[in-house]
Every structure is written in C-alpha cells, then in structure tokens.
Amino acid sequence: MKSQFGKKLKVLLVENNLVDRKVIIKMLSTSPYGHFDPKFASSLVEAFELLPKHKFDVVLLDLNVDDSKGLETLKKFHRRFPHLPVVVNTGSYQDDLGLKAITKGAQDYLIKGMYKSYSLVKSLYYAVERKRVEEELKNAYNKLQQTQIQLIQAEKMNVIGGLASGVAHEVKNPLATILYGVEYLENSLKTSDEKIVLTLDSIQEAAKSANNIIKGLLDFASLTNLKKTPENINTLIDQAIHLTRPQCERVSVHLEKNLQNDLPLIKIDRNRIQQVIVDLIVNAIYAMNNGGRLMIRTYGKKFSDQDVGWIDRRGRSFGQGDDVVVVDFEDTGPGIKDEYLIKIFDPFFTTRRAAGGIGLGLSIARTIMNSHGGIISLHNKTGGGARARLIFKANKKEPV
C-alpha cells in the first residue's frame, strides 16, 4: 500500500478547551510539513456523532473532555472505533498513564505545551501509518489462524479417511458373505413360510443398510471421490518445489531436480498427490535443518519387486514387469533410525512432537498412495541420508 505521508489528513480534534484548540489549529494550519482538514468536538458524544459522517484519518484526543475523564475516554473511544488511529493529547503528564494509553490502543501520547508544530504533525502522520501496518498485521494473523484451522480440519478428515478405508475393507468382506448366504437360502429354500421369508429379508436389509453406512463414511472422507485425471508428475513436482522453496532457503537446503522428459502420464487426483509430494519435501527439509541437499528424480521403468520392500508392495495396482513412474526424494540428512522405520507410517508417530508434529503426514500420504493403487516407501541410503520413493502405475504410453 502507498504511504500516507504527504497526503492531506482529515483530523478530528476532540478538545473542550478553546485555547488549546486554537493552539493546535494554528500549529496544523501553519505547518509546512503536512496538510490537514480538521474538525472539532468538545465531548465524546459529539465526536461519536461526527465520526460516522466523515472519513477521518486520525483523531487527536484529549483525555479530559466534557463527558469523560482519564483513560476511560480512550477506552470508550477505542471500543466504538477500534480501527481509527488515535493520538492522545493531554495536559496531565504521568509516565505510567502514557504507557497505559499505548496499551489501550493509542498510537502516541502527547503532553500539551511540551511539543512544537513539527512533533505534532509527525505524530499524526506516523499514527496513521503505524495503524495501517498494525491492521495489515492483524489481517495477516487472522488469515494465518484461519488457514491453520483449515489445515487441522483437513488432517482430521484424513485420519477419518484412513480409518474409514480400513474399517470398510474389514466390514465389507463379512457383509458380502452374509448377502451371498441369504441369496443362497432364498433360492434353495423357495419357501412360502412367511416367518422364514421375513427373517431372510430382514438379514438382507440389515446387511445392505450396514453397507450404506460404510459407503457414507467413505464418501464423507472423500476417499472414494478422488478426481483422477491423466497428469504429468513433473508438473506437480515443479509446483511443489515452488511452494516449498522459501522453507528450503530458510534452512539452506539446496533443492535439485532431475526429471525425465518423456514420462508416461499417470492417472491421479492431482491435489492429493500434490499433498504427498509437499509432505515429503517438507519432511526432508526438517531432516536437514542445518542445511543439505535434496535431489528429486523422476523416471519410468518396468516394476520389479526389488524396487521396494515386500511390506510396501501391499495394495498396489501393478505387478512385476508393469510400466511404472517412479519419483525419488533423496536427502543428505542423518537418515531414519532403524527402530523408527517400521512405524514411520503409523498414525500419530512423530519424532517432532516437541516442535508441534502430530505424526499424520506420512500416514495420510500412505492412505493417499494406497487409494491410487501406488506405493510409498522410505529407506536409508547406503551412503547416508534417506530416500522416499513414490511408484505409480503408468496408464498409457503417451509421451508427456
């Protein structure tokens, strides 16, 4: 935003002493340093009437006016007009009163008779500018708070998603057995006994109702509503690098990439996979908080069981020899302790609890990769550092 200094300021002078008022008017009107359009009020009531009618830039407020005395005047004013910059102008000097006025929202505290024209003008212009910056900061803080709430909410949803997905699989299998069983009994009994027919119908309805509850839970967690489209993984990586670059620079992590040009497209929900890539980059940055190097590499290959450990291969949608797209994230950090490797994807496992980590990033990343029929794995490199690997099934052989 453009600075206000030099602009003509609309000033409301809340002052019931006519002599003081004249002195201030003279200072403002003869000052070569600024331009003012002043208006006057003798009391708070009068001030409150004027304020909505005019767009004042700043208020010069005497604490002792017709209808209010002391700091109470400032408090009342600030309660009604919290966004308007106020400079207190008072005849009584007390050190603690000045400081208290500042804590109650005043931008400055002037003692009558102890300042000259230049100080008054400077104080008014600075008050306007300081208040503007303060408001910007408040807005940024509010925005940050909202984003934080949204992030926490998103993480909660992801936990529900992970649980829902696991529960769904375990519950749908027995439901399938029950429903096939009922169908068999219906077809083989072919009975007209109303009680048996009613019993079988009730079992069938109950199983279908349970299945609908599971489906509702999955829909709620959006795991079955992934919007999968053919994507170039390199584009997502470039975007993730762009997003995380400030964090990299802050801790002197040097980010390098080696992306294969003619990669096949992969069918993914780009927002969810973007989330996984950003998480892995952020994890690497945390691991190298004294600086280091992060290399991101993409390449296509035929899948081999040697690419990942057996435990990571569960639930994938491709087999030995299928075309896959691989993304490797290799850092030069201290690596992952062996005892952590086995539980690193567990929900709520974190090595950064003290720093506010809640241990859901990798758990969610695995849920997302599983819902794409892909693989995520984490290993220590033989030369030091850790390597995170994502593997996706290559859908078509169309070059990017």
């Binding site: 399938a176 057995t177 029950i178 429903l179 169908e183 199983a207 999955l218 639930g315």
Partner: protein, 127 residues
C-alpha cells in the same frame, strides 16, 4: 451341458464358501476354492478353470502377484481373471464400465446375478 469351471482365490473362507454354494446351486458351474494365495498357481494348473475369481489384498501373495504368475504360465495365460474386492465400491466399478487397469472388477458386497453376469461375459470374451 458341460459345467464351467470357476476357481475362487480369496482368504475370506466364509465368502468363498458362499460363492461356491450359490454358483453350484445354479447347476452351471463347478467351483474350486483356494484360500491360500501361495498355492493359487498350483491349484489353477491342476483345475484348469474357465475363469478365476481373485481377491486383491491377501496375506503372503496379493492379487496382482497371482495375476503375474497366471499370465506367465503357458497353460493359464489366456484364462480370464475377475478381481472381486472390498477395496472399491460398486459405483467406482460402474464408472469404469467394469474394468480397472485392463482387468474385470467386481465390488464386495454384490449380488449373485451380478457375479454370474460378469463370469459369463468374461468366459464369452475368452473362448
């Protein structure tokens, strides 16, 4: 009429029994169950099914691993495979017109009519 041979590979014992009961009750099918995916290939070689119903997530050897073995076996390589899994919903299968990654899919739970329709379709398209 000669019965069509169906091999069911799934670690859910109750489910496989119900599939066998229902399909054999129709009189058109001979069904063999294999609950241990490590023995799936050997059972398939011996049974020589017309179609294989295969779960995706199983202990030891998963569905895609079994498919890899089948497709690399001279005798079985043309045998149609239907994945039948609780990992996806019926809506997802319908949205993909019954095929995901080139394989026929059925969602659990489903109906016997759906199962039979899918089996017949696969057998016809793999004469």
């Amino acid at each position: 009429m000669k019965k069509k041979k169906v091999l069911v590979i799934d670690d859910e014992r109750g489910f496989t029994k119900m599939v066998k009961l229902n399909l054999e009750a129709s009189g058109d099918y001979e069904v063999k169950i294999q609950n241990n995916s490590l023995d799936a290939l050997q059972t398939a070689i011996e049974f020589q099914p017309d179609v294989i119903l295969l779960d995706v997530i199983m202990p030891d050897l998963e569905g895609p691993d079994v498919v890899y073995q089948i497709k690399n076996n001279e005798v079985l390589k043309n045998t149609p495979v239907i994945f039948i899994t609780a990992n996806i919903t019926r809506e997802e299968v319908e949205a993909q017109e019954g095929y995901i990654g080139g394989h026929a899919f059925l969602a659990k739970p489903g109906s016997i009519d759906e199962l039979i329709a899918c089996i017949e379709k696969q057998i016809k398209s793999h004469p």
